[in-house]
Amino acid sequence: MAEYREIIFNSDKIQTDDYFVNIGPQHPSTHGALRIVAKLEGEIVQSIDPVIGYIHSGIEKMCESLSYPQLIHLTDRMDYLSAHMNNEAVCLCIENALQVEVPERVKYIRTIMDELTRIASHQLWWCATGMDMGAMTTFFYGLRDREPILDIFEETCGARMTFNYNVPGGLMFDIHPNFQKRVKDFIRYFRKKLPEYDTLLSGNVIFKERTKGLGVLSKEEAIAWGVTGPSGRASGYSCDVRKLHPYSAYPYVKFEEKLATDGDTFWRYQLRIEEMWESMKIIEQLIDNIPEGDFAVKMKGVIKLPEGEFYQRVESARGEFGVFIVSDGKKNPYRLKFRSPGFSNLFVLNELVKGVKIADLVAIMATLDLVIPDIDR
């Protein structure tokens, strides 16, 4: 839909029925600096054109001039809500390329941190979804429950959001002695609080009316557009990397991959809530069994990957996150590409919003869970 450009420059093509509205780059519902050019007829969206790049910072280019341990901190700033998974993806990629086996303890801690990050991310997504739907109070409930997780993160690695906790070969440092107790406290607390989310938002009749049957994405479409994560699983597309290509401690735990068949906005919402329950189950299975041992293996001072191409997929909070490293044997990568889940998820939006209202566009966008720096990189 590049036609708005033509229309702007060729005034004889102007139609009186349709008009274009720029949503963003500064707009409360675009979750950052996304611009959506929407072609509207009255309130009804005809088609949209996502214009991205307002937060593009050239991370892939920067990585080419950084060494491997250095570039990990940039992955924090991409999808800052699943920073730990991004870190882990790069570390796993490097470890697989060097064929380093990390200690079991590292695997357990990484998995627990992954799942905590996932819960925190989904909580924030829940806040934002509620706000986009006009229910302001969700914002405060979600962030209230997110703070205890951030406390755990802070105690573990000193940062609330951008951890830089993973290093190739293990972790930056060992967990705090309080870690297990704090995590267990949190799980106990959050098991009580999570039903509140249903009471406040998903149990509400207005919410159900607004989301059910809206923005339906079929399984075939989801696969073809590469929509992964809870958004893809809502369409019945089994795409959980934790199940398909298990990494870290995921082979040791029992958990369900939640699937839905409807593929509408409501199920994209519901699956994220259910994922939080699953994440808590995973953490509970691991938290008492963290084995003793080293928190990192000794790596060489300068990490050099062998020549070749390496790909690592992990399940981030938004879907399949991939790292593709082309190495020429030097200490920094020749080419590094991040396959961000949001990128694919964003471009399916045009398929979902044809013929819906503006308010629905916002709702659909919210349940696709877009993090714009993740898309722009």
């Binding site: 780059p25 500064q26 707009h27 409360p28 950052g32 600096a33 790049g53 307002y54 937060i55 593009h56 910072s57 050239g58 991370i59 280019k61 920067m62 001039s65 950084l66 901190h73 940039l74 924090d76 700033r77 800052y80 809500l81 924030l124 806040c127 914002f139 405060f140 962030l143 209230r144 997110r146 703070e147 951030l150 609330r160 959001m161 951008t162 714009i372 720096p373």
Partner: protein, 186 residues
């Protein structure tokens, strides 16, 4: 008449312009300024503008634990026309810079800018080797307060907010405007 107005150029930085102008009128103006300063610093409505991770910390500032509404700071306006404060929370790149500039221009006076986090202050982690990032938002618009951190903790935000409040208290907007006017007349 015995009243001599000081020219703007004669006023030194520590020389309060209020005392030297009139005896009667200036005190009213000074009090007006104090009142406006009080009103402005206690009612800083931010624009909902966030680009990167700092925006999430900004949301955390608004949430229940930290709660910036205590400062009268919570009325986040989505429209620039009603906002007093742009909090640049995140990276500004070359594509975003004109947008930011435009937002700033659309804001009504008096307006304040806070650079939250390393990216907005200097480009932060994207300072070196990045082709897209503006090395500090102050290349685009004037910034009043810089808050370090990547991202800054909510406490840091509050410290920055208080610094901004202090700065606004010192504003002599009304008296200076009068002075400027009289300067022009001469």
């Amino acid at each position: 008449m015995g009243i001599r107005k000081k020219r703007l150029s004669e006023i030194e930085s520590n020389d309060s312009p209020i005392i030297s102008t009139h005896e009667g009128g200036s005190i009213v103006l000074a009090n007006l300024d104090a009142m406006f300063g009080w009103a402005r610093r206690n009612s800083l409505w931010p624009l909902t503008f966030g680009t990167r991770c700092c925006a999430i910390e900004f949301m955390a500032v608004g949430a229940s634990r930290h709660d910036f509404s205590r400062f009268g700071n919570e009325v986040a306006r989505p429209s620039v026309r009603q906002a007093d404060l742009i909090i640049i929370s995140g990276t500004i790149n070359y594509k975003m810079a004109p947008v930011l500039k435009r937002l700033y221009d659309q804001m009504p006076e008096p307006k304040y800018v806070m650079a939250l986090g390393a990216c907005a202050t200097s480009g932060g982690p994207f300072y070196y080797n990045s082709y897209a990032v503006v090395k500090g938002a102050d290349h685009v618009i004037p910034v009043d307060v810089y808050i370090p951190g990547c991202p800054p903790r909510p406490e840091a935000y509050f410290y920055g907010l208080m610094q901004l409040q202090k700065k606004i208290t010192k504003d002599r907007y009304y008296t200076e405007k009068k002075l400027l006017k009289s300067e022009k007349l001469k």
